[in-house]
């Protein structure tokens, strides 16, 4: 078949927030039954029909690059990790709604990725201190995803979601809060309803 255009999307966030589970859900259409620590970078692929059903419909490979590691790594580790940040079309920032620190670290994650690849517009005289300024220049679409909403008690949910709404605003990003609920495990084949059976093209994982 004709070769497809590819789109590269980074999936960033602290260890244990659920990046691998999220990527697995998006690409394999199933809940990840036995998550383990991601070493290095894991890439999975989703085939997506952009503008499906319209005349402009086009099929894309969406490569989800799940980069492991800690934002507080030594600079030598960071510069190694930086090779994954080239030519990025979009960034998904994942944080754990039960873990405040993971939300706070998103800023550092996005700066790490954006500074690597940003072409300066030469407009903003920034001293690197203010969130809204740092991301104002950014043209790469950002999506903030909060996970494990179900693990937060009903009464606390509003407070948590207000906090994260401000976060997304500072990045000028879109926000989604996810529940990967345990009850899905009881279904046959772990299929998620509402996610139509997507074509998969053996997008393997690159494990170091």
């Amino acid at each position: 078949m004709a070769s497809l255009d590819r789109v590269k999307v980074l999936v960033l966030g602290d260890s244990g927030v659920g990046k691998s589970s999220l990527v697995h859900l998006l690409c394999q259409n199933q809940v990840l039954g036995n998550p383990s620590w991601t070493v290095g970078c894991s890439v999975d692929v989703r085939v997506h029909d952009y503008k499906e059903g319209t005349p402009e419909e086009k099929t894309y490979y969406i490569e989800l690059w799940d980069v492991g590691g800690s934002v507080g790594s030594a600079s030598c580790v960071k510069s190694t990790r930086a090779v994954f940040y080239n030519s990025v079309n979009g960034i998904i920032l994942v944080h754990d709604l039960t873990n405040k620190k993971s939300s706070q670290n998103l800023c550092r994650w996005s700066l790490e990725a954006l500074n690597r690849d940003l072409v300066p517009t030469g407009v903003l005289v920034t001293n690197g201190d203010y969130d809204r300024e740092q991301f104002a220049d950014n043209q790469i679409p950002l999506l903030v995803i909060g996970t494990k909403l179900d693990q937060i008690h009903e009464t606390k949910r509003h407070e948590v979601l207000t906090r994260t709404a401000f976060l997304a605003e500072d990045f000028n990003a879109e926000e989604i809060n996810l529940v990967i609920e345990k009850r899905y495990f009881s279904r046959e084949n772990n299929q998620i309803p509402g996610f139509p059976d997507r074509k998969r093209f053996g997008g393997g994982t690159l494990r170091n």
Binding site: P120, T121, G122, V123, L124, V125, N127, R132, A136
Partner: protein
């Protein structure tokens, strides 16, 4: 109606057409309801002001001033992130290196526009939602009404790129409370949202989600007076609850600021901060020490002299300073380090305050003779 010369009525005819969008689309100039609306339209560049935009805004502003059916003028940005992040100084720095005349024309025409806004015969409302810095301040702060939102972010960060807080900064900054203006000018400190209103940069504060309604309400006024317009703005301002209880971010430091920045030399200010020794003072000291020494000295003298000058006199002084800076070293180095290479480590020349002499300073402030800015 029916008064005025033929040339006025033919320009009125053009005004009746709903929109006049220039070829490049960089700025939109539209008549809506009772108002003339200027929309800076370079969202990918945070609406940075170019010479071509200035050349479109100025004549239209003058026309609307004379038009009996235009009762107010509104200026705003586009893209939701910035009102206007500044003048397009990257272009200016590049042009200078290519030995072109852009820098002479750009600053001259920008300051003439700033002056026109200050003396505008119609009520001028700037909706400063988002990042408002440098040149963006110039096209708003001199106007009658400035409306900030919780997304607004103000700064005059020029000392960090080897320039100085121009666009009439020498006029309005020393006129802020105490020594706040001197502090903002030398450190480039950012003010957000409601603090801009407390400081006096903004005249009103509204919630960003209400901004569209505010604009609609203004546009649908019938032959409004300045009071009518003020009433509408007041109503939205009074209604906004956001950050109402929060105190001014510099409240607890104003005494310190007033004390430390009441000095005649930059060296004395630095000494005052050092002696104060508080965490705030030490932090500001660090910030100041990163700025261009030449810029710091220029800025202090600019504000001290500007505090007793008219706006036009200030702009004339500032024009001399821009031309001198264009010929100097720090501006181009600042643009390189902060805007182009983004390494944030400019190498200033001279690197030390004591190497910037009064003689050097006098050269910056010297008249340009026939090239001086005239209004």
């Amino acid at each position: 109606r029916g008064q005025g010369s033929k040339s006025v009525s033919s320009s009125l005819l053009t005004q009746r057409m709903s929109a006049h969008i220039d070829a490049a689309g960089e700025v939109l100039l539209e008549r809506k309801g009772c108002a003339g609306v200027i929309t800076m339209n370079r969202p990918k560049h945070l609406n940075a002001l170019t010479l071509s935009m200035i050349r479109q805004i100025y004549p239209q502003l003058k026309k609307w001033e004379q038009d009996p059916e235009t009762f107010l003028i509104i200026i705003k940005g586009s893209g939701g992130k910035a009102f206007c992040a500044g003048g397009d100084i990257k272009a200016i720095s590049e042009a200078k290196k290519a030995k072109q005349n852009l820098s002479q024309d750009f600053f001259r025409e920008e300051y003439i526009l700033n002056n026109a806004i200050a003396s505008c015969q119609k009520p001028y409302v700037a909706l400063i939602d988002g990042i408002t810095m440098g040149g963006g301040v110039g096209v708003s702060v001199h106007g009658r009404f400035r409306v900030a939102t919780e997304r607004s972010l103000f700064a005059m960060p020029e000392t960090g790129i080897g320039l100085f807080p121009d666009v009439g900064g020498g006029y309005f900054l020393p006129r802020l409370q105490g020594k706040l203006g001197y502090f903002l000018a030398l450190t480039g400190f950012r003010l957000k949202g409601r603090d801009m209103h407390t400081a006096g940069i903004a005249t009103h504060f509204v919630d960003s989600e209400k901004l569209h309604m505010l604009e609609e309400d203004l546009l649908s006024l019938k032959s409004p007076s300045e009071e009518n317009i003020a009433d509408v703005l007041e109503a939205y301002h009074a209604e906004s609850m956001m950050d109402r209880g929060k105190s001014f971010i510099l409240e607890e430091h104003m005494d310190k600021i007033n004390r430390c920045f009441s000095a005649n030399t930059v060296e004395q200010i630095i000494e005052n901060l050092r002696q104060d020794g508080s965490p705030f003072a030490i932090e500001q000291l660090k910030v100041i020490n990163r700025m261009s020494p030449t810029s710091l000295k220029i800025t202090l003298r600019q504000l001290m002299e500007g505090s007793s000058k008219t706006l036009q006199e200030v702009l004339t002084m500032e024009y001399r300073l821009t031309q001198a800076c264009m010929g100097g070293h720090d501006f181009h180095e600042g643009v390189r380090a902060v805007l182009i290479d983004k390494d944030q480590s400019p190498k200033w020349k001279p690197a030390d305050l004591k190497e910037v002499t009064d003689e050097d300073l006098n050269r910056y402030f010297k008249s340009l003779g026939s090239n001086d800015l005239k209004f």
